[in-house]
Subunit: 209 residues, 2 copies
Amino acid sequence: MARRSEHTLEQIRDMVLSAAEAIVSQHGIEALTVRKIAMDIGYTVGSIYMVFANMNDLEMHIKGRVLDELADSLRDCKGCESPQAEIQVMADHYLEFARQHVNRWRMIFDADGNQSLPAWYLEKIDALFDLAAQPLHRLMPERSHEDVTLATRALWSGVHGVCLLSLNGSLGRAGAQQAGVTLALLVDSFICGWQQPAPRLSPQSVTPP
Amino acid sequence: MARRSEHTLEQIRDMVLSAAEAIVSQHGIEALTVRKIAMDIGYTVGSIYMVFANMNDLEMHIKGRVLDELADSLRDCKGCESPQAEIQVMADHYLEFARQHVNRWRMIFDADGNQSLPAWYLEKIDALFDLAAQPLHRLMPERSHEDVTLATRALWSGVHGVCLLSLNGSLGRAGAQQAGVTLALLVDSFICGWQQPAPRLSPQSVTPP
DNA sequence: ACCTGAACACCGTTCAAGT
DNA sequence: ACCTGAACACCGTTCAAGT
């Protein structure tokens, strides 16, 4: 057999990636197998290993493309009247992206914890957080770079958590239906609280009995 | 062969569950196989299916026990001088529990999204959220039950998100090291912001130029 | 009634062999 | 040089057969 240069390696790589994305989108990551991909693109299992080191490598590249798409979606949120509004719109887009691409979206922060992520992948995550940091920086320009970075991590890890638990059913029917308001409350409360000067003064402690 | 009543089904169930928990704790969920469990308890693969419907059923029960342990850990946080302090201590305990039981902890909110969770499992999650709701209710007693429920979901989904991304390496070295302060910032800012009366007034808007 | 273990239908990965 | 496909070492699940 051994079909000769019917496609370049580059083309086969794209075919594998596209086929894999389609399988994950439709049936979830657990349905992704080398044999299914090979079937779909008309090659055999061995061919997949010409263009990706292994299944984990392929998965990382699927996740990489999702991060890129997500970044594009968040870049669409410029031009709001206030930084607060921009952050809310970005969070809305995040939830909407998660809803529309659940199976692929679920993968992006689902790392092993033991094995370290490739540098190029961490850079994509950084790019995403940089986007998220911009309105926070505009909101409180006097805060240090470290403070804004910390706030970005806190807020957007939180946003991810709300979307995750809402969409995966862990919060039950009610939790799923109220994902939007729950997310809005987290974002609004965090922003409001973060703007207060430290040390924190609660309403009670400023009004002595 | 067919060893006769060397153990009761109840005992075998406990042995399977314990062996499974040990495997997951030490090597992660992806290392959990029926054959490994059978090996460890000195039975054969078929025996596992006498006491659990399938691997998914077993996994749910592992997760159920983790939720119980986590609830016990959060119950240890009573008797702080303020509701705010109690919430912070609970969040600290949550992170500490996650750190000490990473492999099992990671499983608890890692649902499929498509298939619905068993009712008894959702009840355990509810019990956990009820624990988390108590200090929020004491903090703002005039808020409705619905408001407190929503705030609990927002805050604790957020807490889970921060722990998840910090511990699984998605936030890089720095993110992992700063998990504690990141979490504290999220909790502190959320609580502070949530206490403000709606409609929200940002510092800028209360100080006209 | 309890338990076995072979059988079935799958996996990911490798690599000698073909064109 | 590109690609195949059999082989290897695994999976989860079932169920006839043994004690």
